[in-house]
Amino acid sequence: MKKQSSKSISEIKTQELFDQLESITVEIEQGKLDLESGIARYKEGTLIASELKKRLAKLENEIIEIKPQIE
Protein backbone atom coordinates (compact mmCIF):
# COMPACT_ATOMS: atom_id res chain seq x y z
CA MET A 1 0.00 0.00 0.00
CA LYS A 2 1.32 3.38 -0.98
CA LYS A 3 2.18 5.73 1.83
CA GLN A 4 0.72 9.18 1.59
CA SER A 5 3.49 11.73 1.79
CA SER A 6 3.48 14.17 4.68
CA LYS A 7 2.38 17.09 2.48
CA SER A 8 -1.31 17.93 2.53
CA ILE A 9 -3.56 16.90 -0.33
CA SER A 10 -3.94 20.48 -1.60
CA GLU A 11 -0.18 20.70 -2.14
CA ILE A 12 0.00 17.61 -4.36
CA LYS A 13 0.06 18.19 -8.12
CA THR A 14 -3.10 17.32 -10.04
CA GLN A 15 -1.23 14.79 -12.15
CA GLU A 16 0.02 12.98 -9.03
CA LEU A 17 -3.46 12.98 -7.46
CA PHE A 18 -4.99 11.55 -10.63
CA ASP A 19 -2.30 8.84 -10.78
CA GLN A 20 -3.00 7.98 -7.13
CA LEU A 21 -6.72 7.72 -7.81
CA GLU A 22 -6.11 5.42 -10.77
CA SER A 23 -3.73 3.21 -8.79
CA ILE A 24 -6.31 2.88 -5.97
CA THR A 25 -8.88 1.74 -8.54
CA VAL A 26 -6.46 -0.83 -9.95
CA GLU A 27 -5.58 -2.12 -6.44
CA ILE A 28 -9.25 -2.55 -5.58
CA GLU A 29 -10.05 -4.06 -8.97
CA GLN A 30 -7.28 -6.65 -8.70
CA GLY A 31 -8.82 -7.78 -5.41
CA LYS A 32 -5.43 -8.27 -3.75
CA LEU A 33 -6.42 -6.16 -0.76
CA ASP A 34 -8.41 -7.60 2.09
CA LEU A 35 -11.83 -6.03 2.53
CA GLU A 36 -10.77 -3.69 5.39
CA SER A 37 -7.76 -2.35 3.44
CA GLY A 38 -9.94 -2.06 0.32
CA ILE A 39 -12.49 0.06 2.16
CA ALA A 40 -9.71 2.23 3.65
CA ARG A 41 -8.20 2.77 0.18
CA TYR A 42 -11.64 3.54 -1.22
CA LYS A 43 -12.06 6.26 1.42
CA GLU A 44 -8.67 7.71 0.42
CA GLY A 45 -9.85 7.61 -3.19
CA THR A 46 -13.03 9.56 -2.43
CA LEU A 47 -10.94 12.24 -0.66
CA ILE A 48 -8.68 12.54 -3.70
CA ALA A 49 -11.70 12.63 -6.01
CA SER A 50 -13.28 15.49 -4.08
CA GLU A 51 -9.99 17.45 -4.12
CA LEU A 52 -9.77 16.92 -7.90
CA LYS A 53 -13.36 18.06 -8.32
CA LYS A 54 -12.57 21.14 -6.27
CA ARG A 55 -9.75 21.91 -8.70
CA LEU A 56 -11.99 21.26 -11.70
CA ALA A 57 -14.37 23.90 -10.40
CA LYS A 58 -11.66 26.55 -10.85
CA LEU A 59 -12.58 28.51 -13.96
CA GLU A 60 -9.97 31.20 -14.35
CA ASN A 61 -6.46 30.97 -15.72
CA GLU A 62 -3.78 33.49 -14.81
CA ILE A 63 -1.76 35.13 -17.57
CA ILE A 64 1.62 36.59 -16.68
CA GLU A 65 3.19 38.57 -19.50
CA ILE A 66 6.95 38.45 -19.55
CA LYS A 67 8.80 41.59 -20.55
CA PRO A 68 12.44 40.57 -20.80
CA GLN A 69 15.02 43.21 -20.13
CA ILE A 70 16.63 44.31 -23.41
CA GLU A 71 20.35 44.02 -23.00
Binding site: K13, T14, Q15, F18, L21, E22, I24, T25, I28, E29, G31, L35, G38, I39, Y42, G45, T46, A49, L52, K53, R55, L56, K58, L59, E60, N61, E62, I63, I64, E65, I66, P68
Partner: protein
Protein backbone atom coordinates in the same frame (compact mmCIF):
# COMPACT_ATOMS: atom_id res chain seq x y z
CA UNK B 1 46.43 74.82 -63.54
CA UNK B 2 44.70 72.33 -61.37
CA UNK B 3 46.87 69.80 -59.61
CA UNK B 4 45.92 66.24 -60.43
CA UNK B 5 44.79 64.27 -57.42
CA UNK B 6 46.54 61.05 -58.06
CA UNK B 7 45.66 58.13 -55.85
CA UNK B 8 47.52 54.95 -55.38
CA UNK B 9 45.58 51.74 -56.08
CA UNK B 10 45.45 50.96 -52.38
CA UNK B 11 44.33 54.48 -51.57
CA UNK B 12 41.66 54.29 -54.26
CA UNK B 13 40.35 50.98 -53.03
CA UNK B 14 40.35 52.26 -49.45
CA UNK B 15 38.49 55.37 -50.56
CA UNK B 16 35.89 53.30 -52.41
CA UNK B 17 35.50 51.03 -49.41
CA UNK B 18 35.00 54.05 -47.18
CA UNK B 19 32.27 55.33 -49.50
CA UNK B 20 30.69 51.92 -49.74
CA UNK B 21 30.72 51.68 -45.95
CA UNK B 22 28.46 54.71 -45.77
CA UNK B 23 25.71 52.66 -47.45
CA UNK B 24 25.45 50.38 -44.42
CA UNK B 25 23.52 47.14 -44.78
CA UNK B 26 21.72 46.70 -48.08
CA UNK B 27 19.36 44.01 -49.25
CA UNK B 28 19.93 42.59 -52.70
CA UNK B 29 17.68 40.03 -54.31
CA UNK B 30 18.80 37.74 -57.09
CA UNK B 31 19.09 34.23 -58.39
CA UNK B 32 22.08 32.20 -57.23
CA UNK B 33 24.41 31.45 -60.15
CA UNK B 34 26.93 29.68 -58.01
CA UNK B 35 27.54 29.02 -54.35
CA UNK B 36 30.40 27.06 -52.82
CA UNK B 37 32.20 26.61 -49.54
CA UNK B 38 35.98 26.83 -49.36
CA UNK B 39 37.95 25.05 -46.63
CA UNK B 40 34.74 24.85 -44.61
CA UNK B 41 35.30 28.53 -43.69
CA UNK B 42 34.35 30.81 -46.53
CA UNK B 43 31.41 31.06 -48.87
CA UNK B 44 31.95 32.21 -52.43
CA UNK B 45 29.51 32.60 -55.25
CA UNK B 46 27.41 34.99 -57.24
CA UNK B 47 23.85 36.11 -57.78
CA UNK B 48 22.28 37.57 -60.91
CA UNK B 49 19.21 39.02 -62.51
CA UNK B 50 18.34 39.41 -66.19
CA UNK B 51 21.12 41.89 -66.93
CA UNK B 52 23.68 41.90 -64.13
CA UNK B 53 25.73 39.75 -61.81
CA UNK B 54 27.15 40.29 -58.30
CA UNK B 55 29.85 38.43 -56.43
CA UNK B 56 28.91 37.26 -52.94
CA UNK B 57 31.18 36.41 -50.02
CA UNK B 58 30.49 35.18 -46.50
CA UNK B 59 31.88 33.38 -43.46
CA UNK B 60 30.59 29.96 -42.36
CA UNK B 61 30.96 30.77 -38.64
CA UNK B 62 28.52 33.65 -39.12
CA UNK B 63 26.03 32.08 -41.51
CA UNK B 64 26.13 28.51 -40.33
CA UNK B 65 24.80 25.75 -42.50
CA UNK B 66 24.04 26.93 -46.04
CA UNK B 67 23.51 23.54 -47.61
CA UNK B 68 19.89 24.35 -48.42
CA UNK B 69 21.01 26.99 -50.94
CA UNK B 70 21.70 25.99 -54.49
CA UNK B 71 22.08 27.54 -57.95
CA UNK B 72 18.80 28.73 -59.46
CA UNK B 73 17.31 29.62 -56.09
CA UNK B 74 16.15 33.22 -55.63
CA UNK B 75 17.57 34.71 -52.45
CA UNK B 76 17.61 37.92 -50.51
CA UNK B 77 21.06 38.86 -49.29
CA UNK B 78 21.36 41.17 -46.32
CA UNK B 79 24.92 42.43 -46.51
CA UNK B 80 27.45 45.20 -46.87
CA UNK B 81 29.07 46.04 -50.23
CA UNK B 82 32.81 46.01 -50.28
CA UNK B 83 35.83 45.97 -52.50
CA UNK B 84 38.47 43.34 -51.82
CA UNK B 85 41.42 45.68 -51.84
CA UNK B 86 44.01 43.06 -52.73
CA UNK B 87 42.33 42.05 -56.00
CA UNK B 88 40.01 44.97 -56.55
CA UNK B 89 37.08 42.59 -56.80
CA UNK B 90 33.75 43.98 -55.82
CA UNK B 91 31.32 41.82 -53.80
CA UNK B 92 28.66 41.92 -51.16
CA UNK B 93 29.63 40.60 -47.74
CA UNK B 94 26.73 38.42 -46.58
CA UNK B 95 25.32 39.05 -43.10
CA UNK B 96 22.24 36.94 -43.70
CA UNK B 97 20.87 35.03 -46.67
CA UNK B 98 17.25 34.02 -47.11
CA UNK B 99 15.37 32.18 -49.82
CA UNK B 100 12.72 34.19 -51.63
CA UNK B 101 9.51 32.99 -53.25
CA UNK B 102 7.66 29.78 -52.67
CA UNK B 103 9.86 27.79 -55.05
CA UNK B 104 13.16 28.70 -53.40
CA UNK B 105 11.70 28.51 -49.94
CA UNK B 106 10.27 25.08 -50.74
CA UNK B 107 13.65 23.81 -51.94
CA UNK B 108 15.42 25.27 -48.89
CA UNK B 109 12.76 23.88 -46.58
CA UNK B 110 12.98 20.40 -48.08
CA UNK B 111 16.77 20.33 -48.06
CA UNK B 112 16.96 21.46 -44.45
CA UNK B 113 14.20 19.03 -43.45
CA UNK B 114 16.05 16.13 -45.09
CA UNK B 115 19.32 17.09 -43.46
CA UNK B 116 17.80 17.44 -39.97
CA UNK B 117 15.91 14.17 -40.44
CA UNK B 118 19.22 12.45 -41.20
CA UNK B 119 20.66 13.96 -38.03
CA UNK B 120 17.81 12.41 -36.04
CA UNK B 121 16.25 15.64 -34.77
CA UNK B 122 12.74 14.48 -35.64
CA UNK B 123 13.01 10.98 -34.19
CA UNK B 124 9.76 9.93 -32.52
CA UNK B 125 11.76 8.09 -29.84
CA UNK B 126 13.25 11.32 -28.44
CA UNK B 127 9.92 13.06 -27.98
CA UNK B 128 9.00 13.62 -24.35
CA UNK B 129 5.56 13.02 -22.92
CA UNK B 130 3.37 16.03 -22.28
CA UNK B 131 1.92 16.12 -18.73
CA UNK B 132 -1.76 15.24 -18.62
CA UNK B 133 -2.53 18.09 -16.19
CA UNK B 134 -0.16 20.99 -16.84
CA UNK B 135 -0.36 23.71 -14.22
CA UNK B 136 2.22 26.10 -15.71
CA UNK B 137 2.50 26.77 -19.42
CA UNK B 138 4.93 28.98 -21.31
CA UNK B 139 3.32 30.64 -24.32
CA UNK B 140 5.41 31.99 -27.19
CA UNK B 141 3.50 33.86 -29.84
CA UNK B 142 2.83 37.38 -31.11
CA UNK B 143 1.08 39.84 -28.84
CA UNK B 144 -2.53 40.61 -29.82
CA UNK B 145 -2.40 37.98 -32.55
CA UNK B 146 -5.32 35.80 -33.57
CA UNK B 147 -3.26 32.79 -32.45
CA UNK B 148 -2.90 34.27 -28.94
CA UNK B 149 -6.62 35.01 -28.70
CA UNK B 150 -7.68 31.61 -30.02
CA UNK B 151 -5.34 29.77 -27.66
CA UNK B 152 -6.40 31.73 -24.56
CA UNK B 153 -10.09 31.51 -25.47
CA UNK B 154 -10.11 27.73 -25.94
CA UNK B 155 -7.93 27.25 -22.86
CA UNK B 156 -10.47 29.13 -20.74
CA UNK B 157 -13.09 26.54 -21.70
CA UNK B 158 -10.92 23.68 -20.48
CA UNK B 159 -9.67 22.94 -16.95
CA UNK B 160 -8.90 26.18 -15.09
CA UNK B 161 -6.31 27.26 -12.51
CA UNK B 162 -3.42 27.31 -14.99
CA UNK B 163 -0.62 29.88 -14.92
CA UNK B 164 0.35 31.00 -18.41
CA UNK B 165 3.73 32.71 -18.79
CA UNK B 166 3.36 34.65 -22.02
CA UNK B 167 6.53 35.62 -23.87
CA UNK B 168 5.62 37.87 -26.84
CA UNK B 169 7.70 37.36 -29.97
CA UNK B 170 7.77 38.37 -33.57
CA UNK B 171 6.31 35.49 -35.60
CA UNK B 172 6.84 36.98 -39.04
CA UNK B 173 9.66 38.55 -40.97
CA UNK B 174 13.41 38.38 -40.64
CA UNK B 175 13.44 39.14 -36.90
CA UNK B 176 11.24 36.17 -36.08
CA UNK B 177 13.95 33.42 -35.86
CA UNK B 178 15.99 35.39 -33.31
CA UNK B 179 12.93 36.53 -31.45
CA UNK B 180 11.58 32.96 -31.12
CA UNK B 181 15.00 31.66 -30.14
CA UNK B 182 15.29 34.20 -27.37
CA UNK B 183 11.83 33.28 -26.10
CA UNK B 184 12.63 29.57 -25.84
CA UNK B 185 15.98 30.32 -24.23
CA UNK B 186 14.47 32.80 -21.77
CA UNK B 187 11.76 30.44 -20.56
CA UNK B 188 14.30 27.62 -20.20
CA UNK B 189 16.64 29.83 -18.19
CA UNK B 190 14.19 31.71 -15.98
CA UNK B 191 11.21 29.33 -15.74
CA UNK B 192 12.79 25.87 -15.91
CA UNK B 193 9.93 24.26 -13.94
CA UNK B 194 7.29 25.04 -16.57
CA UNK B 195 5.30 21.94 -17.48
CA UNK B 196 5.53 22.79 -21.17
CA UNK B 197 5.98 25.57 -23.74
CA UNK B 198 3.52 26.27 -26.54
CA UNK B 199 4.95 27.87 -29.67
CA UNK B 200 2.16 29.00 -31.92
CA UNK B 201 0.97 31.17 -34.77
CA UNK B 202 -1.68 30.99 -37.46
CA UNK B 203 -1.09 29.61 -40.91
CA UNK B 204 0.81 31.41 -43.65
CA UNK B 205 3.05 31.05 -46.66
CA UNK B 206 6.55 29.60 -46.41
CA UNK B 207 7.81 33.18 -46.36
CA UNK B 208 5.52 34.03 -43.44
CA UNK B 209 6.64 30.95 -41.57
CA UNK B 210 10.35 31.63 -42.00
CA UNK B 211 10.94 31.68 -38.24
CA UNK B 212 9.35 28.26 -37.86
CA UNK B 213 11.45 26.65 -40.57
CA UNK B 214 14.68 28.14 -39.31
CA UNK B 215 17.53 25.81 -38.47
CA UNK B 216 18.60 27.67 -35.32
CA UNK B 217 15.03 27.66 -33.99
CA UNK B 218 14.69 23.94 -34.72
CA UNK B 219 17.93 23.22 -32.85
CA UNK B 220 16.84 25.43 -29.95
CA UNK B 221 13.60 23.40 -29.63
CA UNK B 222 15.58 20.17 -29.86
CA UNK B 223 17.78 21.34 -26.98
CA UNK B 224 14.97 22.71 -24.81
CA UNK B 225 14.75 21.13 -21.35
CA UNK B 226 11.05 21.93 -21.21
CA UNK B 227 8.78 19.90 -23.54
CA UNK B 228 7.56 22.00 -26.47
CA UNK B 229 4.26 21.92 -28.31
CA UNK B 230 4.33 23.45 -31.78
CA UNK B 231 1.09 24.67 -33.30
CA UNK B 232 1.77 26.38 -36.59
CA UNK B 233 -0.50 26.89 -39.52
CA UNK B 234 -3.31 24.74 -40.70
CA UNK B 235 -3.99 21.05 -40.88
CA UNK B 236 -1.66 19.25 -43.28
CA UNK B 237 0.92 22.04 -43.37
CA UNK B 238 3.86 20.93 -41.25
CA UNK B 239 6.66 23.33 -40.35
CA UNK B 240 10.07 22.18 -39.11
CA UNK B 241 9.17 23.29 -35.56
CA UNK B 242 6.16 20.97 -35.81
CA UNK B 243 8.49 18.12 -36.75
CA UNK B 244 11.00 18.72 -33.98
CA UNK B 245 8.50 19.53 -31.20
CA UNK B 246 7.47 16.97 -28.60
CA UNK B 247 3.87 17.40 -29.70
CA UNK B 248 2.37 18.95 -32.83
CA UNK B 249 -1.01 20.63 -32.87
CA UNK B 250 -2.68 21.74 -36.10
CA UNK B 251 -3.84 25.18 -34.88
CA UNK B 252 -3.53 27.37 -31.74
CA UNK B 253 -7.03 26.22 -30.67
CA UNK B 254 -6.07 22.60 -31.23
CA UNK B 255 -2.99 23.12 -29.04
CA UNK B 256 -5.20 24.31 -26.16
CA UNK B 257 -7.46 21.28 -26.65
CA UNK B 258 -4.56 18.83 -26.76
CA UNK B 259 -2.62 20.03 -23.73
CA UNK B 260 -5.36 20.85 -21.22
CA UNK B 261 -8.10 18.33 -20.56
CA UNK B 262 -11.77 19.21 -20.76
CA UNK B 263 -13.16 19.69 -17.26
CA UNK B 264 -16.43 17.85 -17.99
CA UNK B 265 -14.57 14.88 -19.41
CA UNK B 266 -12.27 14.71 -16.35
CA UNK B 267 -15.29 15.05 -14.08
CA UNK B 268 -16.88 12.06 -15.80
CA UNK B 269 -13.66 10.06 -15.59
CA UNK B 270 -13.36 10.77 -11.84
CA UNK B 271 -16.99 9.75 -11.31
CA UNK B 272 -16.56 6.55 -13.26
CA UNK B 273 -13.29 5.68 -11.46
CA UNK B 274 -14.90 6.15 -8.03
CA UNK B 275 -18.03 4.29 -9.14
CA UNK B 276 -15.92 1.42 -10.48
CA UNK B 277 -14.03 1.12 -7.16
CA UNK B 278 -17.32 1.19 -5.28
CA UNK B 279 -18.80 -1.54 -7.49
CA UNK B 280 -15.70 -3.66 -7.05
CA UNK B 281 -15.88 -3.31 -3.28
CA UNK B 282 -19.62 -4.08 -3.29
CA UNK B 283 -18.93 -7.15 -5.39
CA UNK B 284 -16.23 -8.26 -2.95
CA UNK B 285 -18.62 -7.71 -0.02
CA UNK B 286 -21.36 -9.63 -1.83
CA UNK B 287 -18.94 -12.46 -2.64
CA UNK B 288 -17.82 -12.68 1.01
CA UNK B 289 -21.47 -12.61 2.08
CA UNK B 290 -22.30 -15.45 -0.30
CA UNK B 291 -19.30 -17.41 0.96
CA UNK B 292 -20.43 -16.86 4.58
CA UNK B 293 -23.96 -17.99 3.72
CA UNK B 294 -22.62 -21.07 1.99
CA UNK B 295 -20.45 -21.87 5.00
CA UNK B 296 -23.40 -21.44 7.39
CA UNK B 297 -25.53 -23.68 5.18
CA UNK B 298 -22.77 -26.28 5.11
CA UNK B 299 -22.42 -26.07 8.90
CA UNK B 300 -26.17 -26.46 9.31
CA UNK B 301 -26.29 -29.49 7.06
CA UNK B 302 -23.33 -31.01 8.96
CA UNK B 303 -25.12 -30.44 12.26
CA UNK B 304 -28.31 -32.00 10.85
CA UNK B 305 -26.29 -34.99 9.69
CA UNK B 306 -24.66 -35.31 13.11
CA UNK B 307 -28.01 -35.17 14.87
CA UNK B 308 -29.37 -37.84 12.53
CA UNK B 309 -26.38 -40.07 13.20
CA UNK B 310 -26.76 -39.54 16.94
CA UNK B 311 -30.46 -40.46 16.73
CA UNK B 312 -29.58 -43.61 14.84
CA UNK B 313 -26.99 -44.50 17.46
CA UNK B 314 -29.46 -43.86 20.23
CA UNK B 315 -32.02 -46.04 18.46
CA UNK B 316 -29.43 -48.80 18.01
CA UNK B 317 -28.48 -48.46 21.65
CA UNK B 318 -32.18 -48.77 22.62
CA UNK B 319 -32.42 -52.10 20.77
CA UNK B 320 -29.29 -53.33 22.45
CA UNK B 321 -30.53 -52.22 25.81
CA UNK B 322 -33.82 -54.09 25.44
CA UNK B 323 -31.96 -57.18 24.27
CA UNK B 324 -29.69 -56.92 27.31
CA UNK B 325 -32.76 -56.57 29.55
CA UNK B 326 -34.26 -59.73 28.05
CA UNK B 327 -31.02 -61.56 28.57
CA UNK B 328 -30.88 -60.35 32.14
CA UNK B 329 -34.43 -61.63 32.74
CA UNK B 330 -33.52 -64.95 31.17
CA UNK B 331 -30.39 -65.20 33.30
CA UNK B 332 -32.33 -64.21 36.34
CA UNK B 333 -34.95 -66.96 35.72
CA UNK B 334 -32.26 -69.44 35.14
CA UNK B 335 -30.49 -68.39 38.32
CA UNK B 336 -33.70 -68.67 40.30
CA UNK B 337 -34.38 -72.13 39.01
CA UNK B 338 -30.81 -73.14 39.85
CA UNK B 339 -31.23 -71.64 43.28
CA UNK B 340 -34.43 -73.64 43.61
CA UNK B 341 -32.71 -76.85 42.57
CA UNK B 342 -29.84 -76.17 44.91
CA UNK B 343 -32.26 -75.38 47.64
CA UNK B 344 -34.02 -78.69 47.10
CA UNK B 345 -30.71 -80.46 47.46
CA UNK B 346 -29.96 -78.76 50.76
CA UNK B 347 -30.28 -81.47 53.64
CA UNK B 348 -31.95 -78.84 55.71
CA UNK B 349 -34.65 -78.54 53.09
CA UNK B 350 -35.07 -82.27 53.02
CA UNK B 351 -35.44 -82.29 56.79
CA UNK B 352 -38.02 -79.51 56.39
CA UNK B 353 -40.01 -81.78 54.18
CA UNK B 354 -40.21 -84.42 57.00
CA UNK B 355 -37.17 -86.51 56.34
CA UNK B 356 -34.44 -87.20 58.95
CA UNK B 357 -30.79 -88.12 58.98
CA UNK B 358 -29.45 -90.85 61.26
CA UNK B 359 -25.85 -91.05 62.26
CA UNK B 360 -23.72 -93.16 64.52
CA UNK B 361 -22.74 -91.77 67.85
CA UNK B 362 -19.63 -90.36 66.30
CA UNK B 363 -21.60 -88.60 63.50
CA UNK B 364 -21.19 -90.98 60.58
CA UNK B 365 -24.33 -91.17 58.39
CA UNK B 366 -25.91 -94.59 58.56
CA UNK B 367 -26.81 -95.77 55.12
CA UNK B 368 -27.22 -99.55 55.92
CA UNK B 369 -28.45 -101.67 58.84
CA UNK B 370 -25.19 -103.48 58.61
CA UNK B 371 -23.46 -100.55 60.12
CA UNK B 372 -25.34 -101.06 63.40
CA UNK B 373 -25.73 -103.68 66.06
CA UNK B 374 -27.87 -103.94 69.13
CA UNK B 375 -27.25 -101.48 71.92
CA UNK B 376 -25.45 -99.06 69.62
CA UNK B 377 -26.25 -95.48 70.19
CA UNK B 378 -27.45 -93.58 67.15
CA UNK B 379 -28.45 -90.03 66.61
CA UNK B 380 -31.35 -88.81 64.49
CA UNK B 381 -31.51 -85.26 63.20
CA UNK B 382 -34.98 -83.87 62.50
CA UNK B 383 -35.99 -80.41 61.23
CA UNK B 384 -36.32 -79.05 64.72
CA UNK B 385 -33.77 -81.06 66.81
CA UNK B 386 -31.85 -84.26 67.48
CA UNK B 387 -32.77 -87.57 69.17
CA UNK B 388 -30.31 -90.03 70.72
CA UNK B 389 -31.59 -93.60 70.81
CA UNK B 390 -30.36 -97.15 71.49
CA UNK B 391 -30.81 -99.92 68.95
CA UNK B 392 -33.04 -102.58 70.39
CA UNK B 393 -33.44 -104.81 67.39
CA UNK B 394 -32.34 -104.98 63.80
CA UNK B 395 -34.65 -106.28 61.15
CA UNK B 396 -33.45 -107.34 57.84
Amino acid sequence: METENILGVSEFNELINAHLGLLGEVVVQGEISEIKVSQNKWIFGSIKDESAALEIFGMIYQLGNISQFEAGMVVKIYGTPRLYEKTGKFSIFINRIMPVGEGSLRIAFEKLRDQLTKEGLFEISRKRPIPQFPSTIGLITAEDSQAYQDFIKILSKRMGGIKIYFYPVSVQGKESPNSINEGIQYLNNYFPTLDLIVLTRGGGSLEDLIGFNNEAVVRQIFGSKIPIVSAIGHEGDWSLTDLVADLRASTPSNAAELIVPDRNMIDEIINSIVQKSKQNLMYQIQTKNNQAELMIEKLNSNIRLLIHEMKQLIAQFGDLSSRISEKIVQLKDRGLSLIRILSNLNPQTILQRGFSITTTDDGKIIKSINELKNQDIMKTTLKDGKISSIVKAIHK
